[in-house]
Symmetry: C3
Subunit: 142 residues, 3 copies
Amino acid sequence: MKPTALFATLLLAAAAVLSPIAAQAEKSARQHVVIQVSDNDPAKWNLALNNARNVQTDLGKDKVDVEIVAYGPGLNMLKADSKVAPRLAQALDSSVGLMACENTMRNTKTTKADMYNGISYVAAGVTHIMKREGEGWAYIRP
Amino acid sequence: MKPTALFATLLLAAAAVLSPIAAQAEKSARQHVVIQVSDNDPAKWNLALNNARNVQTDLGKDKVDVEIVAYGPGLNMLKADSKVAPRLAQALDSSVGLMACENTMRNTKTTKADMYNGISYVAAGVTHIMKREGEGWAYIRP
Amino acid sequence: MKPTALFATLLLAAAAVLSPIAAQAEKSARQHVVIQVSDNDPAKWNLALNNARNVQTDLGKDKVDVEIVAYGPGLNMLKADSKVAPRLAQALDSSVGLMACENTMRNTKTTKADMYNGISYVAAGVTHIMKREGEGWAYIRP
């Protein structure tokens, strides 16, 4: 191998090492937060919705991903007859993800017909939150 | 140094840089979660135990490490006379780590004789949780 | 380019790749924790203050950064007439950061004159916590 070819190989190797680091930095410019709701308490539901709205206001709606994950006793937040139902429409309009835990639904004999229209579903709330944390999302438990 | 030797050195250097990254990726294939219990509330204790069981069911018992750390007012969860004592046996059988905070025990004059048999102990609950978060474990506070 | 020059380039490239990794390792030797208070509950405030003190005792005051961020219904913890006011002085003396959320203050018509003297302020509690998590701080929600 000629020195020139060696130098090219060196540059390629350096690029291979550095590019994922650069990609990571670029990716982390966008912010992400997962907000957990596991209490059967409308005051907490309002606090979670306030947190989501404030984060969007502070960082810019298009600069941050916000998900509210409701599981266990918190599932009631996302039901059709939820005490915060009017605010759920606003959250969906603002692209806040509202995710209900299907594990909790199965255990409490709750069907999608009982849930607020337009929300999303995850197989398991806790596992979804773990996944988000692993992806570098911030975790907030109001 | 001959070009061939140079090339070998280059490969070794690249390997030295890349292997910890690969090891990290392999390590992170296994998942980990630390669940905090700091409320004196049997409903929360049951929720924490449900969370642990669901995570094991969803991800596979042998694919995920699960620890429940009880401190402060949550210490009662892991006492011998705990309202969830029958479920503690099941959790231990399923390799869920049950860790009591020795700081809280000292401050509340609680001894190991007061605690459920077979659980583990950490010098300080919060410091242990911080350590786990630093190691990349997900954090869940039910 | 001569082989010797190539080898030097190789070493420089390796150093460029490895030094941020080494810096990261050194940085992470110092520990950091952000403790969230979002409940209007003096028992939780005392628990948060206990957690802060215990972390400093366990890790050494000069080895760990500790911040308590109060927002939403938790803002009352940091008011001048707070039930834990005597402990706030101790926390400040021990270099525990006490940060009040200005978003919450505005929404509840609370001014700095209502707050405990000597505390710090952040524009938004949740956004500040997200920032800390993104910087690698551990998150504790007592």
